[in-house]
Symmetry: C2
Subunit: 392 residues, 2 copies
């Protein structure tokens, strides 16, 4: 079993989470977000389509993995937990109308002495269903449930040197995949073949750095489909005059470095070229504003000053904390580069700074993955920061 | 906008869902499962990492799409809904501690006249969080909420001829991807390069049939990692004597045909060869049992009779309904090929029949995607049904 981090790093994560639990009066924490499960235990498997959890009990060194029997070996192979910290519900609880895995999770919480304690749950985690919560509260009437919100996510915001190293490797893969996109988006080529080349580059990796599936699939809409933010390819061949937005990521050991660019096959229309010039200048300005002590909102304000001067407006956020992730999202859901977010930047915070805009019949995307340094910014991704014109 | 189905097919789906809603006394249905959203409206975007929904109001012809502003154009481009049936919450509701998109969904339900009605919600859908439900009930104190459970999923169980056609195409891609796996798993090859080739095959497709991202990533664990069901590749090169399980799918227009096989690099160990022979024979027996009028449990019993005779046991189900899907799952969560599921087979039901077993230090997988016909079974996938021995 090769864990991506030293045991001491996991121990420090557990200690930080337990400290925050104590501050909030939580005796236990039931974690459903697979990125948080991985962060605390190393667990890595595509098993989040069935209920599963990691339970942290205040004061205990090791958390508890809980899931399906056929995934328990996966927990043994990918986590640092002792065998007695890995348990499962009966296979007969899978997709049954009258039973639910969380019925058994409630028993586990009882066994761990938490049946009448205060238990934190991630109320808005993708994989913590309304039914899962209903079952827990029903079976543990003497427990008090509290929304733990993004307790673990916030602990992930500042990366360790080892985490930053993984993100730098992920960024190499992102650069490589974007380079493959640039060479694949060509007049006459099927959109799906270009996408296929990008998938391959993401998984194969580069320079001996292995890739992994990304928490969002590569998004490569063309033409009017660039007016929406999350569409992908269709069954056609690229033609001269096409515009394509590409949002992809490198993923290494589940750490992500996303990267977005906009392509024009041939000379771009003036409105797109003008917009792109403003976007690039505004993003340069935002990047220059990144340093410890500046707020998230301050970075966005630096962007907005330049962008407004060019006569444009952008409603959506300029970026968000990024790192460890599983489908459906590589964002950490904590700090956001937008007006009103007064969180102060700190060295080793990492963000996906993304200028994405979607209009009635076209759109544009330009992004970088960045880390805050002691004195400014390290742009982890490294690809020509411009509207990319390919032959068309 | 090219919808995968005729408008009349969507209309029939809505009518069937509304009939069942009436039977259950539901005035409205708020749908969170992206496969169900797609089934009723055509909506296709990787936007399920933020709250979104499709609302069906009893007696109305068109449902309502509800989501993020930057995805509303995606709804315009991929659904058959009129513009006034597409609405969004403010971008300022994304990832905020004090606001939630479902606050605005509650307003939509009010506006649709459902504020004091009976509203069905998918309590156990992956993307219907405990928080989403808490917000809805808080804002609509006069509404009655009911667990709609798998109302729409059950309507998806019997496929239309047009749906079957898409699944046959998906199966062609699955066969092709497995063929690529067979040619890529070779001594000295990096596991991630083999996986990358499979991803490419899945997306590029075959014979002009375009692929799409699959609802589970291709799973290709080797050696002791085959003892868990949802692991993937690691950073190593294949060596003689390796065993690899490959579970992949073809996906076409979001319809899936999964396919699993087990590989041995060189002569397989006797225990694996013996097990594989029993698995193949038992699966042949199960396939021969598939016909209208037989129950799901009856199919599994046919498998079990043969498998037990060989001295083996398998705890987990032999398969499940399959079709339209989004990450994290291509299963439909309804009918299961297992003891106790007395549902009777009907023509055009589709299943992923999967014999997967995971032992202490090894595992095996063999699967087919099948459709029930008027008289028996159509095996949609078409690949040598055996333990696959490659040079090693």
């Amino acid at each position: 079993m090769a864990l991506p981090f030293d045991r001491s790093e996991y121990a420090a994560r557990i200690a930080a989470v337990e400290q925050e639990m104590a501050r909030r009066g939580l005796d236990a924490l039931l974690i459903s977000d697979p990125a948080n499960m991985n962060y605390l235990t190393g667990y890595d498997g595509w098993s989040y389509y069935v209920p599963q959890a990691v339970v942290v009990v205040g004061g205990e060194e090791q958390p508890y993995w809980f899931g399906r029997p056929q995934d328990a070996n996966g927990a043994r192979l990918t986590t640092w937990l002792d065998d007695e910290h890995i348990s499962s519900y009966p296979e007969t609880h899978i997709h049954q109308p009258d039973r639910h895995p969380m019925d058994v999770a409630a028993q586990l919480l009882e066994r761990l002495g938490c049946g009448a304690k205060t238990i934190g749950v991630e109320m808005d985690a993708c994989y913590f269903s309304a039914q899962a919560y209903a079952r827990l509260t029903q079976h543990l009437p003497n427990a008090q449930f509290q929304d733990a919100k993004l307790l673990v996510n916030w602990k992930r915001l500042v990366k360790s040197p080892a985490e930053l190293d993984l993100m730098r490797k992920a960024a190499r893969i992102a650069d490589h995949a974007m380079d493959v996109a640039r060479r694949s988006i060509a007049v006459g080529r099927r959109e799906s073949d270009a996408a296929a080349a990008v998938y391959r580059a993401e998984i194969s990796g580069v320079d001996g750095i292995m890739g992994d599936y990304t928490a969002l699939a590569p998004l490569m809409p063309s033409n009017e489909r660039t007016s929406a933010s999350h569409l992908s390819v269709v069954d056609r061949r690229y033609a001269a005059g096409d515009r394509v937005t590409v949002e992809l990521a490198g993923c290494h050991q589940r750490y992500h470095a996303p990267l977005a660019r906009t392509f024009s096959l041939g000379k771009p229309p003036a409105r797109l070229a003008d917009l792109a010039a403003a976007v690039v200048e505004a993003m340069d300005s935002a990047l220059a504003a990144v340093r410890p002590g500046t707020s998230c909102a301050g970075v966005e304000a630096a962007w907005r000053r330049v962008f407004t001067r060019h006569g444009y407006e952008k409603d959506s956020r300029l970026g968000y904390a990024v790192g460890l992730g599983y489908p459906p999202d590589w964002g950490e859901h904590t700090a956001n580069l937008r007006a009103g977010d007064e969180r102060v930047l700190w060295p080793n915070m990492t963000f996906h700074m993304i200028a994405g805009m979607w209009f009635d019949d076209y759109g544009i995307e330009l992004s970088e993955t960045i880390a805050v340094t002691e004195t400014g910014v390290e742009v982890l991704t490294n690809f020509e920061r411009d509207l990319l014109v390919v032959e068309g």
